[in-house]
């Protein structure tokens, strides 16, 4: 099954990725071959098999107590942000 350019453009939009004109044909062809490759899975008889949730039998996601364990470290974490003002992350205007 081959993906069309329109399909790849839609995927790129969903993934919030800008793809240049020059890159687009490369993704159309490589993603098509990957989709063909993984389509091999259709051959597997998985009739009664439940989808795997955890590789270790009997283990499940642990929950922690609902208690405050984090202290306020916003200055430290925001030191890595591209743009911060008054402890807020700055982005282009969203509401006109």
């Amino acid at each position: 099954m081959s993906l069309t350019r329109q399909e790849v453009e839609k995927i790129a939009h969903l993934a919030r990725l800008s793809i240049s004109e020059q890159e687009m044909p490369i993704y159309v062809s490589s993603l098509s071959s990957i989709v063909d490759f993984v389509a091999e899975l259709a051959r597997a008889d998985t009739g009664n098999v439940a989808p795997m949730a955890h590789p270790l039998v009997g283990l499940h996601q642990r929950l922690r107590g609902d208690v405050v364990t984090e202290t306020d470290q916003h200055e430290r974490y925001q030191a890595n942000a591209p743009s911060v003002q008054a402890a807020l992350y700055v982005v282009p205007r969203v509401i006109e």
């Binding site: 800008s18 490589s30 998985t46 955890h54 590789p55 270790l56 982005v91 282009p92």
Partner: protein, 484 residues
């Protein structure tokens, strides 16, 4: 020749004050200075911090403190967060990211007295099998610098093989420790899923990612894994199972050990690779092990299963890179959508974008059942088959890779061919099993790896079997020319 010594031998020298950690650290920093321009195995060298940490280790030794890793230098893959030191993950996206905290692995090795020399080059976000997707350029294989070192932990492998550090950390999502260990002639272990904390490791595919070790022998790897392994409440999938004493079981005789040979691993394997495995089996038989033929009929579906599950998790994990809170931001965004799309489009390299899009596709409406759900069912089938095999055998043995290291540039234009490098390693990740690769000979003058896979939490047995092989052979002692 400090760089030729094992971790145990270095630790003895430090303990007897015949060498100081500062001297040892200077020795390895000098080797990095001399060799790394050609290898490109490090993204960041942290000489000043290393010398300070070494001085601290010397004070601890002076006070009479002991420990197998106290004062021993190491290199961390640049996927582990290191407080105050850039943690790039091989990506332009994180080129400016200075981690605000340490990964649990980093913290544990530091408290054990480890001295970090720097951060190793890697495939971008650990996505690659050749270390060619790094924003910082490809890593060269010390056995032949026209060849790849494997990936994604290619820098950690090349640096350990070139004796730029006694050991290095890595992560393995589909073979990223075992495959580069094989291609560079060293020992690499990926523990059971959940054995080592993932806290502070930049996430790629959370149900598969596991941290491990590159070293020059199974005995050294056992020493390092001992310090890394164990329960961590900060990783929700960390497993609270006691860590056995790995060093204590290394000497156990292998008499009666049942080694399983997977039919699917030998189907289509090149004759020279088969001959290496046969030679290794002869060694194991001489040590008293028995071999048993086993089959995992669904194992051939590992690679397609992986290339649905891993990209799906990657597309979800990498959605956090939005150009807002940390990481790369594009210049002059015209609106928020433009900011997201161009920051991600410019910050991620081609392979990462390919995987994000693959994952987005298999999770999207209309395709979820056919791809993602189907892959998770296939994953369960493969895992059940492994589990059944381990009721008959103690370990599985096979090749690590189909071929030795290939030329830089040879496979970059063909993702599927590149993905098939991991054909023998991916199964252990899907089933969460511990796996180890160690050198077992060479093809065309390049090292080849032998892979051992054990049941869940059987790292001690895997390390024991590898150590016994290394006592009987000397493949692991071979050093690439120019790095002796």
């Amino acid at each position: 020749m400090l760089h030729t010594l094992s971790i145990g031998a270095l630790s003895d020298l430090l303990g007897r004050r015949e060498v100081s950690s500062v001297e040892l650290t200077r020795h390895f920093l000098a080797r990095i200075e001399r060799h790394d321009a050609a290898l490109n195995s490090l993204i960041t060298t942290t000489a000043d911090q290393a010398l300070a940490a070494a001085a601290d280790a010397d004070r601890r030794l002076q006070r009479g403190e002991t420990g197998p890793l106290l004062g021993i230098p190491l290199i961390h893959k640049d996927i582990f967060c290191t407080e105050g030191v850039r943690t790039s993950c091989g990506s332009r996206m994180l080129d400016n990211f200075v981690a605000p905290y340490d990964a649990t692995v980093v913290e544990r090795l530091r408290s054990a007295g480890g001295v970090m020399l720097g951060k190793a080059n890697m495939d971008e976000f650990a996505m690659g099998s050749s270390n060619e997707t790094s924003y910082y350029g490809p890593v060269k294989n010390p056995w032949d610098i026209s060849k790849v070192p494997g990936g994604s932990s290619g820098g950690s492998a090349a640096a350990t093989a070139a004796r730029l550090a006694p050991y290095a950390t890595g992560t393995d999502t589909g073979g990223s420790i075992r495959q580069p260990a094989a291609l560079t002639g060293i020992t690499g272990i990926k523990p059971t899923y959940g054995r080592v904390s993932r806290y502070g490791i930049v996430a790629f595919a959370s149900s598969l990612d596991q941290a491990g070790v590159f070293a020059r022998s199974a005995a050294d790897a056992a020493t390092v894994l001992q310090a890394m392994a164990g329960f961590d409440p900060r990783d929700s999938t960390s497993v609270d199972v006691p860590v056995p004493d790995y060093a204590a079981s290394l000497a156990q005789p292998l008499k009666g050990l049942k080694i399983g040979l997977l039919a699917e691993f030998f189907d289509g394997l090149e004759a020279r690779n088969v001959a290496l495995i046969e030679a290794a089996l002869a060694v194991y038989r001489s040590l008293g092990a028995e071999t048993v033929d086993v089959s995992l009929p669904h194992l051939p579906l590992s690679v397609p299963t992986y290339y649905v599950v891993a990209p799906a998790e990657c597309s979800s994990n990498l959605s956090r890179f939005d150009g807002v809170r940390f990481g790369y931001r594009c210049a002059d965004p015209k609106d928020l959508m433009d900011l997201y799309k161009r920051s991600r489009g410019e910050g991620f390299g081609p392979e990462v974008k390919r995987r994000i899009m693959t994952g987005t596709y298999v999770l999207s409406a209309g395709y979820f059942d056919a791809y993602y759900l189907k892959a998770q069912k296939a994953r369960q089938l493969i895992t059940d088959e492994f589990r059944a095999a381990f009721t008959q055998v103690d370990l599985l043995l096979g090749p690590t890779t189909p071929t030795p290291a290939f030329a830089i540039g040879a496979k970059v234009d063909d993702p599927i061919t590149m993905y098939l490098n991991d054909i023998y390693t991916i199964g252990a990740n899907l089933a969460g099993l511990p796996g180890l690769s160690m050198p077992c000979g060479s093809i065309d003058g390049l090292p080849m790896g032998l892979q051992l896979i054990g049941p869940h939490f059987a790292e001690a047995r895997v390390l024991n079997a590898a150590h016994q092989y290394q006592l009987a052979t000397d493949w692991h002692l071979q050093t690439p020319r120019g790095y002796e």
